[in-house]
Subunit: 356 residues, 2 copies
C-alpha cells in the first residue's frame, strides 16, 4: 500500500506546441492571426487593479447577459466557462452520466475520449466515411449522449442544420452536444434549434473567431434546465472560474461587430486562396468551414512534410493516428504567411521532382 495506489491514472490531452521561436510561422493551434477588437485594449487600459481584491461574479452575470442579447436568448440559457475545453469538460461530467456509451465520430477533437477516460464515461467511436463525411443515420441508435464538432476538427468539414435536426429528432432522450468552436468561419450554427430541443447543448469559444485564445473564455448554450444543471456541477467544481478582467474583456469583444465580421471574412478569403494554391500543387484538401485546412499530398509522406516545414520554421499539426497520419492540419494565418508556405511548398515539390 502506498499513496500512489490511490491515484486517478489518466493519459492527458497533449495540446499543440507553443514554441518560443520568435521568427516562426505558427500555424499549429488555430489561433487567429489578427488582434482582438480595439475595445479589448481599451478595457484593459481602463481596468483598475484595486478591483482585483474582490471576488468576481461567480457566473459572469454581465457577460452572460451580453451573449444572450447578441444571440436573442435568455440569460439562463448561457453558461460561461474557463475556455471551451472547460465548458466541454464540465458538460461531459454533467450530462454523460448514464450507463450507455456516448457516441462521437472516430476522427474528431481528440480531447473527447480523454474527458471520457477522466470521468469513466463509456464511449463508442462512430467511423466517418472514407472522405471524412458524417452520416447522421449512424447516430440513430441507443446511447448515453452524443458529441459532434461542427465544423469537425481536424477535418474542417461541416454538416447542415437539417442533419443536426435529424440527429436531435432521433435522440430526444440524451444530450446532443454540438461543439461549434469554429462555427463563425462558414458553418451554420444550430443555435436556432434551441427553440425546439431542450436536450441540445451548443458550445462555442472566444479563442478562434474572437482572437482571444489568451483570455480563456468558452460558452455553452442550452435550455434553461440543462444550463442550470451545468451550473450546479460547475459550482461543485469551482466557485469563481472566470476572473474579473476576463469577464470585461469578453463583454468588450462583443461590442464591435464590424471589426469581428471583417477579420472573419479576411480569414475565409485567405483560406479559399490558400486552398486553391494547394490544389494547384497536387494537394487533396477537404472542404473546410474553419480557420484551418486539412491536407494530404499523394506523393509526400505527411510526417516528412511536417518535419521539413518545421525546419523551415513553419509549424503545423500532425497526428500519428490511424486514418489521418497522412494528413496535416494547417491554420490560416495572414496572406503573407500563407504565401510563404505556398512558396516553400512549390520549391520543395520542384526539388523533390528533380530528385526522381
Amino acid at each position: 500500500m502506498s499513496w500512489q495506489n490511490n491515484l486517478h491514472s489518466v493519459s492527458p490531452y497533449i495540446a499543440g506546441e507553443q514554441p518560443e521561436l520568435t521568427d516562426m510561422i505558427k500555424l499549429n493551434t488555430n489561433e487567429n492571426p489578427y488582434q482582438p477588437s480595439l475595445q479589448v485594449q481599451k478595457v484593459i487600459e481602463d481596468f483598475k487593479s484595486e478591483n482585483l481584491r474582490l471576488y468576481p461574479s461567480t457566473d459572469a452575470k454581465f457577460l452572460r447577459k451580453a451573449l444572450a442579447e447578441y444571440h436573442h436568448l435568455n440569460t439562463d440559457q448561457v453558461f460561461i466557462g474557463n475556455g471551451s475545453d472547460e465548458v466541454l469538460s464540465l458538460s461531459f461530467l454533467t450530462f454523460f452520466n448514464g450507463q450507455r456509451a456516448i457516441l462521437m465520430p472516430d476522427i474528431s477533437y481528440s480531447f473527447y475520449p480523454i474527458y471520457c477516460e477522466l470521468y469513466r464515461i463509456p464511449y463508442q467511436k462512430i467511423p466517418l466515411a472514407d472522405d471524412f463525411s458524417l452520416s447522421v443515420n449512424s447516430y440513430f441508435q441507443e446511447n448515453g449522449g452524443i458529441v459532434i464538432a461542427n465544423p469537425n476538427a481536424p477535418t474542417g468539414m461541416a454538416i447542415s442544420l437539417q442533419e443536426i435536426e435529424e440527429i436531435l429528432q432521433n435522440n430526444q432522450d440524451s444530450i446532443v452536444l454540438i461543439d461549434e468552436a469554429y462555427i463563425d468561419f462558414g458553418g451554420e450554427s444550430c443555435l436556432p434549434l434551441l427553440e425546439k430541443f431542450d436536450n441540445l447543448v451548443v458550445v462555442q469559444t472566444f479563442s478562434k473567431s474572437r482572437s482571444l485564445a489568451g483570455i480563456r473564455l468558452g460558452i455553452a448554450f442550452g435550455s434553461a434546465e440543462a444550463i442550470a444543471h451545468l451550473y450546479d456541477v460547475k459550482n461543485s467544481f469551482n466557485s469563481y472560474p472566470i476572473d474579473s478582467l476576463a469577464q470585461k474583456i469578453g463583454e468588450a469583444s462583443f461590442t464591435d461587430e464590424t471589426y469581428f465580421q471583417k477579420s472573419v471574412s479576411k480569414i475565409i478569403t485567405t483560406r479559399e486562396n490558400f486552398k486553391n494554391e494547394l490544389i494547384k500543387l497536387g494537394f487533396q484538401v477537404t472542404d473546410s468551414k474553419t480557420n484551418f485546412v486539412f491536407v494530404h499530398h499523394p506523393k509526400i509522406d505527411a510526417t516528412t512534410l511536417f518535419k521539413v516545414l518545421y525546419e523551415a520554421k513553419i509549424i503545423v499539426r500532425h497526428w500519428n493516428q490511424a486514418r489521418i497520419s497522412d494528413w496535416l492540419r494547417i491554420t490560416i494565418g495572414t496572406d503573407r504567411e500563407m504565401n510563404t508556405v505556398i512558396q516553400f511548398l512549390k520549391e520543395y515539390l520542384k526539388n523533390k521532382e528533380k530528385s526522381y
Copy 2:
C-alpha cells in the same frame, strides 16, 4: 427514459454573497481590504491586447518558476490552478481515488465534502473538540487521504508544524493535503516538510494575502511526483486554465515583498485590536491566525445578529449548521470599517440591555 436520467446530480457549494450595494461594509468573503501591489497595476497598463490572440502557457511556466524561487523549491514542485478552489478540486480528483474514506475535520471549509460528492469519494468527518481544537491522534487511522485547512476556516485556528509532521509520520500511505489559504496571516507554513514527505500537498492562494481574489490564482506545492500526477489530471480536464494576463499579474504580485509584508501586518494588527474590542463587549472569539475572526456572543442569537448587521449594511457570514450556528465569521477590513462594526455592536448591546 429521458436525458435527465443521465445527469450527474449534485448539491453545489454556495459561495458568500457578492452583493451590489455600494455603501456596504463587505466582511463576508475574506477579501483583503487593501489593493494588490502597484506592480500589478503596472503589468495591466503595459499589457498589449494583441498578445491575447495566442494561447497562454499551458502550465504557467514563468509564474511557477517565480513561485519556486520564492519558496526555494524546484519548478516541478509547483502547480498553478484557476483559484485554490480549482486546485483543491483537481487534487481531490487526482489523489483521493482509493476505496477508503478520506478524513477531514467536521468543521472546516464546506467545499471539501462537495468535492467528495462530485467525484464520489467516500469521506469521514472527524469531530473537532468543543473548543474547535484539532487532535492529531484522531487522524492515526486507516484512510484514503487527509485534508486539513491550516489555519482552519471558519474557526481561524491553527495547528503547529510539529502536529502536521505527526500526522504525516502516521500517514505515509495516503496524500495529506494541507490547505494554507490563510497561512500568511500568522500560521506556520508546512512547506519545509516537503523535504521529508513526498505525500504532502500544500495548497495556497493569491486571493487573500495577495489581494487578488479577482484574478483566480491558486497553487499546490508537493513532491515532483505528486505534482506531475496533478498536471496529468489537469491536462485531462482543461489544457489552458490560466489566462496570459493572470499569469503576468501573479508574477508581478511576488516582486514587491515590502508592500506584501506591510499589508499583511496591517491586517494582523487590525484583527488583534478588533478581537480585544469584541472581548470587551462580551464576545467569545477564537484564536485566529487568519484575516477573519470567528465570534459568538452568549447573549445574542447569531442569526439575529447576522440580520441586524445586514440591515446596518455590514455583511458577515453565518452558517445554519450544527455546532457553529451560534457563531459568525467576520472578515478583517480596514481599521475604519472595524471601528464602525464595533460602534454598531456597542450601540446594539446597549439598546438590548435597556430592553431587559
